[in-house]
Assembly symmetry: C2
Homo-oligomer: 340 residues x 2
Amino acid sequence: MIPTRAQRPLGALIVCLAALAACPAGAVDPLPSWNDTPAKQRILSFVAKVTNEGSADFVPPEARIATFDNDGTLWCEQPMYVQLAFALARVKTLAPQHPEWRNTQPFQAVLEDDMKALVADGKHGLAELIAATHAGMTSDQFEEIAGDWIAAAKHPRFKQLYTQCVYQPQLELLDYLRASGFKTFIVSGGGIEFMRPWTQRVYGIAPPQVVGSSIVTEFQIKDGKPVLMRLPKVNFIDDKAGKPVGIGQHIGQRPILAFGNSAGDLEMLQYTTGGGGARLGLLVYHNDAQREYAYGPAGGLPDSKIGTFPQSLMDQAEKSGWVVVGMKDDWGRIFPFDPQ
Amino acid sequence: MIPTRAQRPLGALIVCLAALAACPAGAVDPLPSWNDTPAKQRILSFVAKVTNEGSADFVPPEARIATFDNDGTLWCEQPMYVQLAFALARVKTLAPQHPEWRNTQPFQAVLEDDMKALVADGKHGLAELIAATHAGMTSDQFEEIAGDWIAAAKHPRFKQLYTQCVYQPQLELLDYLRASGFKTFIVSGGGIEFMRPWTQRVYGIAPPQVVGSSIVTEFQIKDGKPVLMRLPKVNFIDDKAGKPVGIGQHIGQRPILAFGNSAGDLEMLQYTTGGGGARLGLLVYHNDAQREYAYGPAGGLPDSKIGTFPQSLMDQAEKSGWVVVGMKDDWGRIFPFDPQ
């Protein structure tokens, strides 16, 4: 944990309390990949108090809602969002049917692996890529396309399936929360239908508990079959101030725990910890270039357009008592696979 | 069940199969308020086959999704939608703060109990009523307002709380499905935030499993508190072709069982039963004026603007093998309370 002023005075007391409440002698550690630091103790202590019926902070199971960002919080988001890698791969797959793409941006940039030109094309280019690769088919077809791709696609550095490049400490935390009566949700800026084909298998999170960005779908009878057709039009962006809105729409309850890793998660953490009673806000801080990546100007690390963690977020975390989980010190293990 | 040609030949066989598979001698009847008719047997037989691992129609628990319309399917929708009764009551409560309403439609009509003028004002009037009574407060405030009202408001004919005017056979069916590994969802044209405060208590359906119509909400920091503010603007209408879209957005899985009662449920039943494998579509038919209400031109009953069941829906039910549950013959009991 990156210690903040607000957290230091309570640290020792919380360690004792959590040790008493959540880790009786001989009990199995529910979070073995978490180092024994204040971050871990804050989590154990929080879960202990909200699940203890005798505690003033007790929360009944039906209100134990925990929301997790996905990119950079549950799985690796560098060197690019996995969904962007999917979109780029999809352009290459579809290119033979679109000869015009060889001379049209942003497709030409993708086909020539010219990331500089792609970035120069900006948001407009991204929207065109999404429309060309994520729309024009039924939801069932897209589920199959995305599911097939993710079943085989590998991370360029770790040479493992992307779905293996998930954080082992977070898998343990999700299990621990569910074993403690929590319902766990993903609340991600990523595409809701890109995630749903595999979140049950990878995170134990069923499709209805995935909240994300979406494009418009339309009910149609196509060749006699009732389908949802995906249209090239944005429906909802589940990022920043959209995250509490997405939570309101999909969950209808204010979470008591939220875990993010970037400026896109600020409002979700504000909304979560701004409710009454016991609340816990957490942020992954990527400061481990050796085992994963190190980025975030708040810690004097290189800036990144992906998963930006600005100084203002660090300030807000300190002010609000959110736990900043430093990957380097707080996590004993990063991925389920053994490092190469 | 209103027998249709498609269902008749199989009736006797299904009764036998279901009796063997789902009701072994001495077992407790999971649906005691359902008469022993083909409708009940269709349900028992369906659940038996999708839960039997040895069956060709076996469906794993994570894919056992059942969706229920609310108004007219789970609770009484006559003489008017409960949410409309809420809106009208709310206008009267708020009237002292709005002296101008005494001379402005549709408010004047509400305050003077002039239903004829209200109906004449049509959709525009309804939109104004919703804006005045459902927007301009936070989601938390609306939850409290709706929750407080529903805790006390009574049905004009049955003199019971609206939340008591729910169908006992459906409460048993929801329990039976959940005991059989199903996830149960509401997919209603009603307001999502109007239903969520009480669906867990009344139906055992948690807020995240409620899909409904919604207005736009916006994340705001108000008086230092992070809130979702409700704006007077429609976000989504979860009716007709909107129901499969709402299912796609919220559930992300095609249901295997859907239960409705009106033309607004047609597309949900098409979408549900149009998937591969075993599927069951059901419709409540309100033909019991003595114990509840009788309406629906398809059966030669009076037409109703609420819960319309046209001949075209009856035709589609027959063509598709959907079960039409006739309240009069298929349900031994209607409500949890004893009739007056």
